[in-house]
Amino acid sequence: MSKAKKIAAIISVCVVLLAAVYAVVYAYLKIPVTYDGSDTNVVELYNDPQNYDTSDPDGVADIIVKENLDKTMAVNNVSAVVFDWRGFDTLGESFILLTAIAGSFVILGVHRKKTAAGKVQTSEEMKGGDQE
C-alpha cells in the first residue's frame, strides 16, 4: 500500500468523522426534544402499575398510540411498528438472513454438488454389493 493511498484513506475517515460530529452537534442544538421523561412519575408507575395514568403518553409513543389507526389502519400495533414505522429494521433483518444463507450456500455448495452426483453412484454400489 503506497503512501498516497494511506493519506487518502486517513483524509476520508477524518471527513466522515467530522460530518458525524457536525450531525450530532446540530441534532443536539437545533432539533427539539420530543421526550424528556419529565411527565413520567417512575415511583408511582413502579408501585402501582395497574392504576397508573397512561392515557397521555408523550413523544413518539403518543403518535403511535393515538394516530396508529388513522395512519396505518392496522389493528395490530406491533406489525404496524415492524413494517411501517421501522420498515428499515425489518429490511435489514431479512437481508441478514439472505446473507447468512448465501454464505452457507457458498461454503456447503461443494458438498451439495457431491451429494447430487453421489446418488447414482450409491445406488450402483448398493446393487453391486448386494449381488456380491
Binding site: 389502519m73 392496522a74 429490511l91 438472513l97 456447503l108
Partner: protein, 173 residues
C-alpha cells in the same frame, strides 16, 4: 438397505407422526403468515413454522425423499425474489409521495379484514415467503451433509474432507 446411522430405516410410529403433523404444520404456518397483521404472529414466525415441514419430511422419510419432494433450486431462486418484492413494496411509499415503507394502499375494506392494513399485509406476506423459502433451503442444505448417500459417495471418491472417515475406510479394508 442398511446404513450405519440408520437414517433410512424409520420406525413406523415416527413415520405416522410425521404424516399426521405435516398438514397441520403447513396450514398453521400459512395461517400465521396470512393473518400476521391482525393477530399475533408475523412473517418470520410463520415462515419458520412452514419450513418445519421439510424437517418433518426428513424425520419421517430420510433425506432422499425430502430432497425429491422439495426442489432446492426453486427455493434458492424464490428467496431473493421475496427480498426484492419487499424492497419494491417499500419503494411504493416513495413513489406515491411519502417516505420509505409508509403504508399506502390501506383504503380497502373494514378495519380487521385480511387486507385492510394495505401495504403492511403485503410486506408481511413477502417476508413470510422469503423466510419460508430461505429456511427450507438452509435446512435441506445442512441435512445434505448428514445424508448417508453423501457419506457413501465421499468414501467412494476418496475425497472426503473429514479425516475420521478415511480412518474408517482403512479399518474396513
Amino acid at each position: 438397505m442398511k446404513f450405519k446411522n440408520g437414517i433410512t430405516e424409520k420406525n413406523v410410529i415416527v413415520k405416522c407422526a410425521a404424516d399426521k403433523i405435516l398438514p397441520f404444520a403447513l396450514v398453521f404456518g400459512i395461517y400465521i403468515i396470512l393473518f400476521g397483521t391482525i393477530s399475533p404472529g408475523g412473517g418470520f414466525q410463520g415462515g419458520v413454522i412452514t419450513a418445519s415441514a421439510v424437517l418433518l419430511l426428513y424425520i419421517g422419510y430420510g433425506y432422499s425423499t425430502a430432497s425429491d419432494a422439495v426442489k432446492q433450486e426453486v427455493l434458492r431462486v424464490c428467496e431473493p425474489i421475496g427480498a426484492t418484492l419487499y424492497v419494491i413494496l417499500g419503494l411504493c411509499g416513495i413513489v406515491l409521495g411519502s417516505v420509505f415503507c409508509r403504508n399506502v394502499f390501506f383504503a380497502d375494506g373494514k378495519i380487521g379484514d385480511l387486507i385492510s392494513a394495505g401495504n403492511i399485509s403485503f410486506m408481511g406476506w413477502t417476508v413470510g415467503f422469503k423466510v419460508l423459502t430461505g429456511i427450507g433451503f438452509l435446512i435441506l442444505l445442512m441435512l445434505g451433509l448428514l445424508a448417508p448417500e453423501f457419506k457413501k459417495s465421499g468414501a467412494a471418491d476418496g475425497e472426503l474432507m473429514v479425516d475420521e472417515d478415511d480412518d474408517e475406510k482403512e479399518v474396513d479394508e
